[in-house]
Symmetry: D2
Subunit: 355 residues, 4 copies
Amino acid sequence: MIIVMQSHCSPEQVENVITFLEDRGLNGHLSQGVERTVIGVVGSVDITGSNGVTPELGESLEGLSGVESVLRVSKPYKLASREFHPKDTTVKVPVACVAGGSVTIGGNEVVMMAGPCTVESEQQLFTTAEAVRKEGAVILRGGAFKPSTSPYGFRGLGEAGLKLLDKARKEFGMAVITEVMTPTDVAMVSEYADMLQIGTRNMQNYMLLDEVGRTRKPVVLKRGMSATIEEWLLAAEYVLAQGNPNVILCERGIRTFEKMTRNTMDISAIPLIKRLSHLPIISDPSQGTGSRDLVTPMTLASLAAGTDALLIEVHPNPDVALKDGAQSVTIDQFKTLMPQAHAIAHAIGRKFVTD
Amino acid sequence: MIIVMQSHCSPEQVENVITFLEDRGLNGHLSQGVERTVIGVVGSVDITGSNGVTPELGESLEGLSGVESVLRVSKPYKLASREFHPKDTTVKVPVACVAGGSVTIGGNEVVMMAGPCTVESEQQLFTTAEAVRKEGAVILRGGAFKPSTSPYGFRGLGEAGLKLLDKARKEFGMAVITEVMTPTDVAMVSEYADMLQIGTRNMQNYMLLDEVGRTRKPVVLKRGMSATIEEWLLAAEYVLAQGNPNVILCERGIRTFEKMTRNTMDISAIPLIKRLSHLPIISDPSQGTGSRDLVTPMTLASLAAGTDALLIEVHPNPDVALKDGAQSVTIDQFKTLMPQAHAIAHAIGRKFVTD
Amino acid sequence: MIIVMQSHCSPEQVENVITFLEDRGLNGHLSQGVERTVIGVVGSVDITGSNGVTPELGESLEGLSGVESVLRVSKPYKLASREFHPKDTTVKVPVACVAGGSVTIGGNEVVMMAGPCTVESEQQLFTTAEAVRKEGAVILRGGAFKPSTSPYGFRGLGEAGLKLLDKARKEFGMAVITEVMTPTDVAMVSEYADMLQIGTRNMQNYMLLDEVGRTRKPVVLKRGMSATIEEWLLAAEYVLAQGNPNVILCERGIRTFEKMTRNTMDISAIPLIKRLSHLPIISDPSQGTGSRDLVTPMTLASLAAGTDALLIEVHPNPDVALKDGAQSVTIDQFKTLMPQAHAIAHAIGRKFVTD
Amino acid sequence: MIIVMQSHCSPEQVENVITFLEDRGLNGHLSQGVERTVIGVVGSVDITGSNGVTPELGESLEGLSGVESVLRVSKPYKLASREFHPKDTTVKVPVACVAGGSVTIGGNEVVMMAGPCTVESEQQLFTTAEAVRKEGAVILRGGAFKPSTSPYGFRGLGEAGLKLLDKARKEFGMAVITEVMTPTDVAMVSEYADMLQIGTRNMQNYMLLDEVGRTRKPVVLKRGMSATIEEWLLAAEYVLAQGNPNVILCERGIRTFEKMTRNTMDISAIPLIKRLSHLPIISDPSQGTGSRDLVTPMTLASLAAGTDALLIEVHPNPDVALKDGAQSVTIDQFKTLMPQAHAIAHAIGRKFVTD
């Protein structure tokens, strides 16, 4: 950590900073430059606070009089960082329909997760599941608890939806991923689901992160719509810090000034996360674009950039979907998408689990 | 609702849209323009869904083939809108120290809410409360449950913090406002607090909104850091829809590309909310700027733009604050701020409760 | 165009809007809905203003009393739109080193444009040109006039730089693309360059757009860093309206809250532009990310999403580059990138010009 | 300048950075921390490049292998900074109608600049000028050259518009401010105008900044719609570096995700600029909000936050304005606004020039 003092700061202000550091078991190393005084913090600032130095140290220093800015040299996350854990993390998910009975996310093989945005009925879910399974999807997505911007909107079938997902899992041998929205639902959702999804609006719902961190279920953590890469990794750190190592990050678009797409997919986040973290990174082009016609090109782009899996909304009849019909691809579109996705995967030396 | 068809759409696609509407008890009024076919939806689309038409109708229409875009003519919120409820809502808060035993937020009088970001100790809280009370604040703010970006950061004293707030209330005759972060805490926090605060990260935590909606406590709903005005009003609608009319909106800055301030305060949201809604709107210049030196000018700007109350972080010794020291003003700064705030209030024909 | 009136508007306000339209040779078609009065504009609103109705009509209507909002049904650009011109535009560029003496941008073949950010010396330029030519680039990029955020920064070699580019063209048989920054330089730059580049800061420099529109040189129009897709197409319309049909759009990242990359590349703009416009669309992953290590994955993602060409910064020794060294790939990195780019192109059924 | 090395960098990479610095006449001071190696740059890095070290040094260092990030300790602008020039700059503008024949911008007195968005006719201009003059405006705004997003839009009357402004100046004794859009127009516009305005789209039109820097006319430099505070001050530095000290900054809103207002006015930029720079800062609530009804509250907010002047669009009949009617206030609204503006100015201990 490096403290830059204001250009006309007084010797007392510098002294005060040094004392502040010493009170916390640290030392300040003074550099009197031509332009400014800079104080380097000597001693380890463990960001987990385990040496008594709190993560808020930087903020506190910024508040001291005479301080212009504080530059953090080390990353604010640890368990999620590649520095701390250089080897790729892989997350194993039980999938009955594949040889060996499981798939691995974060290895060389790419995984397709597909299904309806929201579970609406057994018929809708089963038709979709059967179709996407046939094309090579091995994990079934479907929302039972849905965040709705309007209080009058459809909020999902709840536990009845979970039961349908469970039934579909048995029928088609797929794993099931579904969203959990509040801490008290984690236990129930975990009974039915193989993977827990944390939605974009809940990326900083810390009590929910704590709770899924106490399970050992794979957690797909969607990027908050205005979350920086660093905040996203800190949210992953919450889950990891509770002891659950099975965290998968999911890029799903960020909020920008451009409104022609629902969100702006930040494809560069895929290689960036690979560099900064050992965690798998996957991509949701349905939420990322909000537009059915953009799902295929953004699926291919995500694959080319290195995504470990895809999460795609498919609906047998998007025109009557209860939610997000405009961004769900049809079964026919999904059939056309898959061979293109395979071709891109091969082009970069990877293959789909079901290849 | 108005449906704009693609320029080369087929008669079958138009027919399909008309049928889709009729299946839902609505009619489509066709306008064949020079440039495009436009379909006006005839019949009432009650956004509360009480006539069987769901709020997702627009989304569903956007997914129909041949449809280019769907224009919503009416607002997606109802209880929060000034159209539905033209008269200003005022929220009464019990405050022992003022004549009459309560203050009203949203009327002609302006209210000062001040206190530490986080409750750290009895001494810190009491020193601050005494000082801000003396200068004219009547509501004491202080966090017992704190959202921390890092899992290793300080997350507040919890119920012990609430007890200190309660003690301070009795001691200084102030009302207490504090944050509640998860549905299961609502009952407990409500025992100690006069006003419940929903933080920026929880603006779309719908189960939490439902839960505070079931109480009758005044709720201060902070704007999500990337929430549009419309999404913010829809979040208020959640609380109102559960029967709690005591909702107060709070502008606290939005996330933009500018990083020199922690957030960019959208002061224009104050008059905009006044126009669109009957709910009171207040301002948090501490979170809004993240910088102690900007709190006074942004307090004055908020008042000039019409804010109904202010929420300001004050710390007896910001240099040692456990959280957000850089944005807390000192007691001396607060003393200087108050007479300026009074002068601006008078200039626009308002006055502070304690005037 | 559709005019939505405020919910409590008066009959006089409606009448006033109708009269306003009639004064301009248009008619208003009134729809009295349950929720609101809506006025459809009948008669053609030619956005080129050639029927006497100005493009500002919408804005003027928004200013009328009682009007809540104005919805534009047709697109504000014409020459750039796929509706007006359904067939793909292809732009031919003379390139001595390829069979036939030219390449086509916007057809099935993909084109690689590469070279240094800035022309620094003959040696730097020639080393780079030779290397990228050998790997399959056919168009040489290099800045002679450079926008520098600081007035004290390097602003390019000017005409001397253009002369070096011209010399390199002759030596290596490549076409040359370079930036032009001000109208009075267009003639001179056109003497040396085969393609004119309009930089992100000049996307709305209308007098410059007019001037390059008066030439017939291919124009690469970079997206403004905060330009919407619509504003970008309107900027293209400026060039097209002057009679120059050879416009190529270039996605180079937009400004968002995320600062870990220099810009956020909006890969979805590639398929979106293909849908809205007939103009070729290319991609600049060097400017788009600002980081050397992200250039390869974002090149591959752009290709998978359908880009027609790539613009990549290469430097023989990025460590001593005068500008943007951090985002220039080395010659070795470029050598590794090209076969991967070929593989992705093949996977989607395209190939590079030099295949 | 401080260089942070990657956590696993090699001794050779560190050595290479040191050599790179020494080649440029600087020294690197090595700090081997627990977490990382940090290299402080010793020796003065004059950002004007006058000691041979270019402003791109930071970028170049970021490109060196093994470097994680480069932290700039000093500000990248000099002439515009308060550190270099602690005393407030005031800009004198000749105004015939006031006692003394001039007004000062940046002192204790506040200045009102008002007039139509665009000069449309003598009658429109004179009616407006007379009305705003009567209410206390002393500088007349009006566009003769207008940036239009559409090539088919109204682009202003050109020199004929300038002549009308000149005539109005003589008639009403006001100073005239008008926009200049391209370097070759600077001389002509300067003949007619007392102040030159650089519009938001041209904030980084460097050749235009150079050219107005060669005059001694007061220059009002609007903030680019996606410009950071730092980029804005660097644009001011361009003008100052050419020898023109009369630079006035103008906040006019930035582009964000919120679309209910045309832009989001960053009121906090007013006190921030006052802290970072000695230059006057003014406010344009018409462009800043795009909505007539928000002009008054945002005028008052700007004043409360410390603006030195206001730039307000007024139109005698906004319903028929050729441009930006929706954001122009009527003469009646302007009459109501002025006494409120006076009251706020008094509340913070300032007054209007004409008080």
